[in-house]
């Protein structure tokens, strides 16, 4: 079942990448990043069937970092909303030449 789990993981990761590339809503972009992190976690768990529980430890670390990333990212989204009045990333043109 490891191969099947890895295929599911690859598909989920690709869906997350396509989401990041096609959406402009900052919150949905962050959710796509969470989807990609989840796909990687699935790979870790699948491989830990072969190589022992070290993979589970890594998954716990990834979840912690994901929580920190979500907290910071959403705070940035709130700051962006206060400044620009929108979370649509195509309206953020300050750095565009």
């Amino acid at each position: 079942m490891i191969t099947e789990a890895l295929i599911v993981s690859a598909i989920l990761f690709a869906i997350g990448v396509v989401g990041v590339l096609t959406r402009r809503n900052a919150i949905i972009l962050f959710m796509c990043a969470e989807l990609m992190l989840n796909a990687v976690n699935l790979s870790f768990v699948a491989f830990s069937r072969l190589h022992g529980v070290t993979g589970h430890v890594f998954v716990i670390m990834v979840m912690t970092v994901a929580a920190a990333e979500a907290a910071l990212g959403l705070a940035i989204v709130i700051a962006i909303y206060r400044h620009f009045g929108t979370v649509d990333l195509s309206n953020l043109r300050t750095l565009r030449g």
């Binding site: 919150i27 979370v87 649509d88």
Partner: protein, 168 residues
């Protein structure tokens, strides 16, 4: 490999993929977040089936519980629930990113051409937390302590960034 196990495995896999597809195609952030919660529940099921019931539990508690609630809370706070204009990019850019996604998927699948030999699925025992904890608090103790620092920095940063008046 018994048939019931196999059926459950494919069921959760298809549920995860279908929910992920629905998640990226919703234009309203609230249904998108709920479909993502569905993906995470399906993944928790897959974790349990891959001999990781403890990770599955944390997945439900931390991801589906805490992190997604934060997302939905921000959507509510910024009142983004009723968007009329779609934020999905134009057709050309959608085709381009679909191409990129398929290319990436093909690459990843090429990397696992040969099947990996699997140890048989063992039914869960009582002792699911101890092996993880033993590793986490011995070999990976430094990393574990560093994650607490990461969380502290993130909390302080989030409070500073989301404060009413940013004087930076």
């Amino acid at each position: 490999m018994n048939a019931f196990y196999q059926f459950q495995f494919y069921f959760f896999s298809l549920l995860a993929i279908a929910s992920a597809l629905l998640f990226v195609t919703r234009k309203n952030p609230v249904p998108a977040a709920l479909w993502l919660v569905n993906v995470m529940f399906a993944l928790a099921g897959l974790y349990v089936m891959l001999d990781a019931p403890f990770v599955g539990t944390i997945q439900v508690l931390v991801y589906a519980g805490a992190i997604m609630v934060t997302f939905v809370f921000v959507v509510m706070l910024l009142n983004l629930g009723k968007t009329e204009i779609s934020d999905i990019r134009s057709l050309g850019s959608r085709l381009g990113s679909g191409f990129v996604g398929l290319g990436l998927l093909a690459n990843l699948l090429l990397a696992l051409r040969q099947r990996i030999d699997v140890p048989e699925f063992s039914p869960p025992t009582d002792n699911v937390v101890e092996p993880v904890a033993a590793l986490l608090f011995t070999d990976y103790l430094v990393a574990f302590e560093l994650t607490s620092l990461v969380l502290l920095v993130a909390v302080i940063g989030a409070v500073l960034l989301a404060k009413k008046r940013v004087t930076a």
